[in-house]
């Protein structure tokens, strides 16, 4: 390539890399003195455990939300103190006598038997165990990364749900609806007030006979919906009950005393599946999934809560900061920066100005990877994806070093630099290709089968490996060609030495 063409290519490449670096890493004040332009790295979704301020308003710090479910008849010692202090005189004494404190919980002695600081009420213990299991099953089915469920002083359940910018407010509906306990019923009527139970047909039957399960998905327009599947028996019964529909009717899905879904229908039910969406207030992905999980868990539940009226409730929601600390992400960025500097020092020391070739190649790889992390909705920056980018970076650096070493070896045999580069790439092409294709295949398969952190790690590794392969085999050679054309002392540019000092390339 001629010098002029090379100069144009180099200027263009430099401008593109500089512009992308600017977009990806630089934060600027907007001019009004208040707002600012955030770089792309700020907009990448982050794992809730990694704390750092980001998001549109800069108000998100990672972390998540915690709620504690108390079974009926149980309150926290703090709530007990507050309630007691609100009362006076005999009322206060009566209230104090009514509750028994065990650990951090207070038990209503009118509902639960507590003897010698121990709960001995067998019915309560059985009800609580079943309700707790129901809560665990529901949250487990949500497949939320980093979710945490703990038993509090044996008779309360604490749930931590990590937040992300998209799900910042999804927790309220999740905490509320997952706390619904009791019998699952489907009611039908002309309106909500006149609706009567149609499923299960008899109190002795289980709802599982009529409702097969539920799932959530999005349609072609992106609208989220809940699909409720009925068994043939359920469909037949619903069809017969809704056959007399006039202009419209209401189908209500209830758990205990709480309405999960209230659905207006204008014709008799004739299919096994009902698709529920809400055009006036569309479901978020999480809300649709939560409703589906709730109905599915009830339909498939084989162990009902012994007392159908047993309930649990949460009194407050606590927002907590990121588990790894407020500056965890900043430390990761610093660690990445140190690795980058060490890598560049190695390349500049060993290969001289050829280090610039690697720097351009690596920056191109890194910028494309960052833009993909931002652009792909399900990818977030976590410890796993960070490790994946590190491994792909190592793969790229090792591939580049392998090429440089092979070119150096060729050069030592007496060839010109141009011939050495050609032969060096020819000899290493398949080695690099094989390594990248194998890692990418392994990663994408793990991504396809695995879930949660491993899946995210694998996807990022697969994607970054593809970029690494393209950069090592294509872009790296291109940058080498355009940069080397400016110097007459090509061997010195690459820091290559051989016994014959003559250099006439």
């Amino acid at each position: 390539m001629g010098k002029i063409k090379s100069a144009i290519c180099l200027v263009l490449a430099t401008l593109i890399i500089a512009a992308l670096s600017f977009i990806c890493f630089v934060s600027l004040p907007a001019g009004d003195g208040v707002s600012k332009f955030d770089p792309v790295v700020t907009w990448i979704d982050k794992d809730a455990n990694l704390g750092v301020e980001f998001g549109a308003s800069g108000s998100y710090y990672g972390g998540g939300y915690t709620a504690t479910y108390f079974p009926q008849g149980v309150i926290s010692a703090r709530a007990y103190e507050d309630n007691k202090n609100d009362k006076t005189g005999d009322e206060q004494v009566e209230y104090a006598n009514r509750y028994v404190q065990v650990g951090g919980l207070c038990f209503d002695s009118e509902e639960i038997t507590v003897e010698n600081g121990k709960v001995t009420d067998e019915a309560f213990i059985a009800n609580f165990a079943a309700a707790k299991q129901r809560l665990i099953d529901r949250y487990k089915a949500m497949n939320i990364e980093n979710i945490r469920i703990e038993t509090v002083d044996e008779y309360a359940v604490r749930v931590f749900v990590p937040q992300s910018p998209e799900t910042a407010n999804a927790y309220t509906s999740l905490f509320a609806i997952f706390g619904y306990m009791g019998d699952f019923e489907v009611l039908y009527g002309a309106d909500e007030a006149s609706a009567t139970t149609v499923l299960p047909a008899r109190p002795t039957e289980s709802i599982g006979q009529y409702v097969d399960g539920a799932s959530s998905a999005a349609d072609a327009t992106g609208a989220n919906f809940v699909a409720i599947r009925f068994t043939d028996e359920g469909k037949t019964r619903l069809a017969s009950k809704t056959a007399d529909i006039e202009s419209s009717g209401v189908l209500i899905f209830k758990i205990g005393k709480d309405t999960v879904i209230s659905l207006t229908i204008d014709s008799a039910v004739s299919d096994n599946t009902i698709y529920v969406s809400n055009p006036s207030s569309p479901f978020s992905k999480e809300a649709a999934q939560a409703l589906a999980v709730l109905i599915d868990s009830e339909a498939k539940s084989t162990e009902p809560i012994p007392d159908g009226t047993f309930s649990v409730s949460y009194d407050n929601v606590v927002s907590t900061r990121a588990i790894y600390g407020d500056s965890a992400l900043m430390y990761l960025y610093i660690a990445f920066g140190v690795c980058f500097v060490l890598m560049m020092v190695f390349f500049f020391v060993r290969y001289g100005l050829l280090g610039f070739v690697h720097m351009y190649t690596y920056l191109a790889f890194l910028l494309v990877t960052i833009l993909c992390m931002w652009g792909i909705s399900f990818v977030s920056l976590s410890t796993g994806t960070f490790a994946a980018v590190l491994i792909a970076s190592l793969l790229l650096s090792a591939s580049q070093a392998l090429v440089y070493e092979n070119v150096h070896k060729e050069y030592k045999t007496g060839k010109t630099i141009a011939a050495s580069v050609k032969n060096g790439y020819k000899k290493t092409f398949w080695h690099i290709f094989d390594a990248h294709i194998v890692v990418a295949a392994l990663s994408f398969i793990v991504y396809g089968i695995g879930i949660t952190q491993l899946s995210a790690f694998a996807f990022m590794l697969g994607l970054a490996t593809v970029f690494s392969g393209i950069c090592a085999l294509g872009l790296g050679r291109f940058f080498w060609a355009i940069m080397m054309s400016f110097t007459d002392k090509k061997a010195r540019f690459c820091n290559f030495k051989r016994v014959e000092v003559e250099e006439n390339d």
């Binding site: 915690t66 392998l402 890692v439 398969i445 695995g450």
Partner: protein, 336 residues
């Protein structure tokens, strides 16, 4: 001539077998050291009603009282988490104590804090509440992720090694598969034996990193073997010599990449926050195990596997040749 490390297959096999067997026993008896997940802990929660009074100095005074009382009762928090009660608008400071902390000491600390708040004229007792709870982590959420991850890794490794089989021969794929399985098992065993604290999800991540490095390192070895096959002077080397030649040309490369990988995870883990460190530093083990198996165990084992495959193919070749000769001879005989 076969290099010395390649003659020590029984030694490498013994080391790996001891570690893996011990690891499997420990994994089945004790599992991994998931102390960071805190199976049992105490949560000491201090709430300050900021909807009534917002005064950062009073929050600091409250923190001071808590820390003083913890010190006085010889208990120290494993973690502190700041939060906000979004329902009642309260500042919540949560001190998390490990499960082996004395419940009596915490009870006394709570009493000490309550008394100190009462005695402090600047703090309004009505706006502050101090509670502590015993928490047991329900866990069990990693089950689906574990079996699906393990399945994914198995299928992924098999597909990757089918590719190696097509490109470099079945013998290389078989050794690669053995090494990949070995590296995953060795890494997990080492984590279990050394009782390295880790998150529930992390062992599978380290196993995946071991599998990736294992495949890449083995590919380096395979590439050298193929280069030897292309060279007319080396083409007919006996399997031991061919493996030895490939080993001589690959071990430095493998060790340099492994050293770079270990240094990378050491820097990243060393500079990261404490929680992140637990998920990054042990990845060094994965890289080291993959390097060990690719430099020592793999080539030593491959001498035998390659020998067996070479013998099989040579036999198969002779058989085909004999068959072809017979086929050629048959029409000639009938013509005569």
């Amino acid at each position: 001539m076969t290099k010395r490390p390649l003659k020590l297959l029984p030694v490498w096999l013994a080391i790996s077998a001891v570690i893996i067997v011990a690891g499997i026993i420990l994994m089945s008896l004790l599992g991994f050291n998931t102390a960071p997940e805190r199976a049992k802990s105490y949560s000491f929660e201090v709430r300050y009603d900021v909807s009534v009074e917002i005064d950062p100095q009073k929050v600091s005074a409250l923190e001071g009282i808590c820390e003083q009382q913890f010190e006085a009762h010889n208990v120290s928090a494993a973690a502190r988490q700041d939060g906000n009660d979004v329902t009642y608008n309260m500042t919540v400071i949560t001190y998390v104590f490990s499960g082996d902390t004395s419940a009596d000491a915490l009870k006394l600390a709570k009493k000490g804090i309550d008394d100190a708040i009462k005695a402090n004229a600047g703090l309004s007792e009505a706006l502050i509440s101090v509670d502590y709870y015993e928490l047991s982590n329900v866990g069990g959420f990693a089950y689906d992720a574990t079996w699906r991850g393990a399945l994914g890794l198995t299928v992924g490794a098999i597909v990757a090694l089918v590719y190696i089989g097509i490109r470099f021969g079945v013998g290389n794929a078989v050794t690669g598969l053995v090494l990949c399985a070995h590296d995953v098992a060795f890494t997990l065993s080492f984590l279990a034996i050394a009782r390295i604290p880790t998150y529930t999800f992390a062992p599978l991540l380290f196993a995946a990193i071991a599998a990736v490095f294992s495949v890449v390192f083995w590919l380096i070895h395979c590439a050298q073997l193929r280069d030897a096959k292309k060279d007319a002077a080396l083409r007919n080397l006996p399997s031991a010599d061919a493996v030895s030649y490939a080993w001589e040309n690959s071990w430095k490369k493998i060790l340099i990449i492994a050293a770079a990988g270990i240094a990378m995870f050491a820097v990243a883990g060393g500079l990261a926050a404490a929680g992140v460190r637990l998920a990054l530093l042990p990845a060094m083990i994965s890289v080291a195990v993959a390097a060990y198996s690719s430099v020592l165990l793999g080539p030593a084992l491959h001498i035998h596997i390659k020998g067996a495959f070479d013998k099989f193919f040579a036999k198969h070749k002779r058989y085909s040749g004999k068959k072809k000769a017979e086929n050629r001879a048959a029409p000639e005989a009938s013509e005569n």
